[in-house]
Amino acid sequence: MSVESIETVVDVQTAEKDQGTTLRSLAAKLPWIVIVQILVVAAILLAVQLAVDSGAVKRIYLASPTQILGAFPQLFTRENLLFHLSVTLAEAGVGVTLSAVLGIATGIAMGLFPKVHRFLNPFLIWFMAIPKVTIIPLLTLYLGLGFEHKVFIIFLFCYFLFVFNTIAGIKQVQDNHIKVARALGATQRQIIWKVVLPSATPSIVAAVRIEAATCLLATLFAEIVASKAGVGNLLNKLSGIYDTAGVFALVILVTSIALLIIYLVDLLERRVLLKWKYV
């Protein structure tokens, strides 16, 4: 415990030096906050461990940290976790990519052409307003329990934000930026590619950020409702046989994957898409 806290203190202080003078006043306080955070987490873990080990809480309701750790190897060997994980990630990946490509394309068309916007807007709002859960039985009927079913549900979850954020981004383009390009003799097409779309990028990236986490939620939701494979399917199975430790292990795994995705999107934003904002 104490060794961990000291390491954290050192990390925070080195990071602090790079931040410059503004945060320096916080430097003295920050390590204590981190220490307390660690203490809180440790206390909760310890309490759960004691509660389960002593039998005060039944194993159906709660699993101890050691039981959860112990559940992981079984997930890989007995439950074929890697297979389920690959199914889930493939569904999420295809679903969100499809949503992004079609959503951004729709948004560009609507943002650039008022007539397209007027025609499509009521349909989009209508579709977006459908509570997804109510049409899942129908979708299962049409598309079965497999891959297409999941991709379609993810699409319903993710498509609209891409559309509307792209439109909002295109509306943000500054008139004087367009004027500059026109004065330099830009064609209509050049103005779209060199001014309008770059102006819309921050807004589109904001959609990517949100959807990166949402697509995983949508996939698991769809899998839990109706599926033959995937992490959501596995979760159903484990909770069905009251394997609480296994369920906790899966939740931790899925959370870690979500965090990893958010981190990767953040990296993509800082290093590639909006690099200019971070220099």
């Binding site: 004087n176 500059v180 330099l184 003799g185 060199k194």
Partner: protein, 256 residues
Amino acid sequence: MPAFTIRSLDKVYPGAPPVRALSNISFSVEEGEFIVLLGPSGCGKSTLLEILAGLQLPSGGSVLFRNKPIDGPGGELGVVFQDASLYPWRTVAANVGLGLELRGVDKVEARRLVEEQLSLVGLAGFGGKFPHQISGGMKQRAGIARALVGDPDVILMDEPFGAVDYVTRNKLQEDLIRIWQQRRKTIVFVTHDVGEAVFLADRIVLLSPRPGRIAEIVTLDLPRPRQRGDIELLQREARIYEALRALEPAATAIMA
């Protein structure tokens, strides 16, 4: 042959009631001349400049660029805007090179031209920075470099130094005169700053407001380089102030 020939130009913005921005404007701009359009706000000077740039169309009369009617922005003129209007997602060099890129100039050649232009406006070594990393004065320099990089004979400038501090403005004015003399450009420069107009111009077109009309065209046959605070310069300045005051009797009454 004059660079611009403007005859009986009118500009009316439709609406209820329609707004008459410019009325019966006639003058010409000679090649190599430094013309300043001077006037209070609402005199349509920026509108006039945008018409010369081809960004707006006149409602009446004719505007010729080298004896041909202007029918849209062609890219052969350099235009510098009020705020530099750099693209925040492009580096300074990429901003300056925008016009070359739009025209499909070879990349190596474009890079060479951009570097050359950056050093001409005093931005050598800043090409890799993004606009938010440089000062307001440097942004204006970049905006000027972007207009100059294609080596246009004619540069149109809309209050380019309005947003920078006094010292920087003086420096930018001197640099502009240096560039103009080195490269023998034709410059049409919009400002509401009398001191700036007198320091820069060969001729000042004084515009009166609502609607914009030509009140007077002042020729400044003063030797260059001009010295700030020079008595003759100050006398001319005082006379133009007087002329400006005469344009707005109502406003002067309130001030007094």
